[in-house]
Symmetry: C2
Subunit: 242 residues, 2 copies
């Protein structure tokens, strides 16, 4: 069933409507009266609806059944990714959303080779949030992960450490594995991965001082766009998701 | 240290040379006399070498130390991927190599929307093997995963089932998890994932009849290029790689 994210207000109506991009999307998919669709707010509430009428600028629906989303993972994983080239970040945001990330946080790091200025950050953030929305619809998520940008590496460390477990992955770490770090079920986990050029040693020391664990992702060097998705997949597995 | 894959014969010499694309690559990287590089055959043997001379068409080396590669995973994972759009397969081959795949096998499935003819298959295979080689060099692998194409879905099932454990991932499977399937350490595991449109029910039944386990990858629908990498990451984690 096709999934549309709508406002919480729409979801409370018995006759909700799809407007704007959702209405356009329904037309692109050639949905017609009688078809069923799934409406979803950003907060794990869903409603199975039937299309009652397709008008020029909106699609009228009637609610068949309300329910809670059952597709969200039990563990909330915050994915902290260093600024890197645009298409890599877009790839990470799309895939991390599919894989069940709770939120995606972009932050600067010493060796970042690209970091957009404030004006283009706003534009990029809009685009990234749309990518997350679209991936959430396609993968059947019960919520859309928020994408946000932090101003400094320190801010990222401090925020990451608010989770029950916070881990920075470092290619030169050899002894501490992710298996050691996930010694029980954690409700919330933050994972941090570096930019194309990796972390500076001093950044890793700072992370340790801020209370993060520093772990390896194995003996092979992963690209900056592969590492967060590998870690996220492993954490979902370790947390009993599949 | 930059890694170059060479023939087993070259690796046995005390004064090996880089030729062809390897020599060009060394020049692109602006390596110079005195720099150290790592030579590697496809069979987990390595030699740390020093550049002695850079000539127009070759780079002369002398061996400092021979050793076995320590970067290959203990578990051999064969990644079976259904034909899908070209750029998706290229993405999977690159990332699966980084993540430690033993080999990558492309096969046809009922809902495959693209399947190249024999002539372009040969060309694609060359290209795919180059992508695997380049990803193996960048990620520091001790071997280059072989990429191959099979002629039928049945061939894929039969070949996959030669591994100690063979698993097909199906989006409609709800009860059997990967955690249940990996009940101990396996030396060799085959994983199969479907094309853009997913598997037909009859294909899943055939897989069961051939002795494969059918597992879920969680409650979210993963794209065809995400599923194999998610499963591979989880298996590497479960097998004690990180």
């Amino acid at each position: 069933m096709v999934r549309f994210f709508v406002s919480a207000e729409q979801l409370q109506l018995t006759d909700p409507v799809l407007i704007g991009e959702n209405a356009n999307h329904a037309k692109v998919l050639r949905l017609k009266s009688g078809d069923q669709v799934l409406l979803c707010d950003a907060n794990e509430n869903e409603a199975i609806c039937q299309i009652t009428k397709i008008e020029s600028d909106k699609v009228a629906l009637s609610v068949i059944e309300k329910r809670s989303s059952s597709s969200e993972p039990r563990v909330r994983v915050s994915v902290y990714v260093a600024f890197s080239k645009g298409e890599k970040l877009e790839h990470i945001i799309q895939k991390a959303t599919e894989l069940g990330a709770y939120e995606i946080v972009i932050y600067p790091s010493a060796r970042c080779i690209s970091r957009p200025d404030e004006k283009s950050q706003k534009k990029k953030l809009d685009r990234w949030q749309k990518i997350a929305l679209s991936a959430a619809e396609q993968s059947g998520r019960g919520r859309v992960p928020a994408v946000c940008i932090l101003g400094s590496f320190k801010d990222a460390l401090r925020r990451a450490n608010l989770s029950q477990l916070s881990i920075l992955f470092y290619e030169n770490e050899q002894s501490t594995t992710l298996q050691m770090a996930i010694d029980k079920f954690y409700d919330s986990i933050s994972i941090m991965t570096g930019p194309e050029g990796g972390y500076e040693d001093t950044e890793v020391e700072e992370a340790l001082m801020h209370g993060l664990k520093v772990c390896t992702l194995g003996k092979r060097i992963l690209r900056c766009e592969t590492a967060p998705l590998c870690a996220l997949s492993a954490i979902m597995y370790a947390s009993g998701e599949f």
